[in-house]
């Protein structure tokens, strides 16, 4: 099935985020070739022009490099990937904290809740 995109953000940015996550999870490794614009379009059910825009955006972020006549590749510059990893972490945390605060939780409560949650989650993972 065509993958679903949420309605709140531009499709090309959602695709950027998706590729970044694939890199973080190691599904795409440094130096890996991304699918061609058309193949990526078919896989995700997205207009090839939108995929081009996604690749241009990733290029601007230096996360991918386009080699003429060869395709688009994930950068092998680990510093950039490390920065991206850090940045996504910060974004995710600030979203989480903002919505917790909006519900009236204090920083202290958030910290404790998170600690307890992680202890349980890691406990059940190691079982």
């Amino acid at each position: 099935m065509v993958e679903t995109f949420n309605s709140s953000a531009p499709i090309y940015l959602q695709l950027v985020e998706r590729i970044n996550r694939q890199i973080l999870r190691g599904e795409l490794k440094p130096g890996d070739k991304l699918p061609s614009v058309r193949d990526m379009g078919i896989q995700s059910g997205v207009n090839p022009n939108t995929v081009s825009r996604t690749y241009r955006e990733l290029e601007g972020m230096k996360i991918v490099e386009t080699r003429r006549g060869q395709g688009t590749f994930v950068t092998e510059n680990h510093e950039i990937l490390q920065n991206m990893r850090e940045q996504l972490k910060q974004e995710e945390i600030s979203h989480f904290v903002a919505s917790m605060k909006a519900m009236g939780y204090s920083g202290h409560e958030i910290m404790n809740g998170l600690k307890t949650f992680l202890t349980h989650a890691e406990g059940s993972e190691s079982e």
Binding site: S7, I11, I42, S44, N47
Partner: protein, 229 residues
């Protein structure tokens, strides 16, 4: 490129289109949306040269449109207009005999992609498979303009999915412009570059889909709803 200037279309006393101006560029996929009877099909038929404007001019690749524009335009009608006694292969053969730009090899590739049995009789095809056959016949032509009137209408989600993906796979955006009318807006939202809203025979808006999301934080459905309010 398609250019409509000052185009008005009247059917007897009823006005279907009122002085519309639209320019469509090669390399893009356009969606034409609007309520029933807003003038979508009329616009497509005008570009395909099937009907004549009452006023104004229509050009495709710089050529003024008349019935002979069929050589440059592949038009998918919302109706089923195929011979029921032909099977799928004979229908493809018939189209190949009618259009010199028909790429039989490409038709075969698309037919295979759409999993259509070449021996099936057209009159025995399910509605979904008739929809797939229409895609084969429309996309196998190597023409600068592809017009599709309601390609997804009345089809189940699996067929709609195969049609959307088939479209991305087999169009040639370097040389073609695609114009689709549809009510299944969510289904085609990721497919479109630009969307044109038509209301009571007038163009009520035209914009890039991702710009709409980026600048106004709106989906096409929300935008269209706002225009129709």
């Amino acid at each position: 490129m398609i250019k409509l200037e000052h185009v008005t279309k009247r059917y007897l006393k009823a006005t279907a289109l009122k002085t519309i101006h639209v320019t469509l560029e090669t390399g893009k996929i356009y969606g034409l949306i609007g309520s029933n009877g807003s003038g979508k099909s009329t616009t497509l038929k005008l570009i395909a040269g099937l009907i004549q404007p009452t006023k104004g001019s229509i050009e495709v690749d710089g050529i003024r449109v008349d019935r002979r524009i069929a050589a440059k335009v592949s038009y998918l009608s919302e109706l089923d207009e195929y011979y029921g006694f032909y099977n799928v292969r004979q229908t493809i053969d018939f189209f190949a005999s009618q259009f010199s730009d028909f790429n039989r090899e490409k038709a075969e590739t698309i037919r295979d992609y759409m999993k259509l049995d070449p021996e099936s009789k057209v009159k025995h095809l399910s509605k979904g498979n008739r929809g797939r056959l229409k895609m084969v016949l429309t996309l196998a032509r190597e023409v600068p303009v592809i017009l599709m009137d309601e390609p997804l209408s009345g089809l189940d989600p699996m067929v709609r999915d195969s049609i959307v993906k088939g479209l991305i796979s087999f169009i040639d955006l370097e040389h073609q412009v695609i114009l689709i009318t549809t009510h299944e807006i969510k289904e085609v939202e990721t497919l479109l570059d630009e969307v044109i809203v038509i209301k009571n025979g007038e163009i009520a808006g035209q914009c890039n889909v991702d710009d709409l999301r980026y600048e106004q934080n709106m989906t096409i459905v929300e935008w269209m709803t706002k225009i129709y309010e």
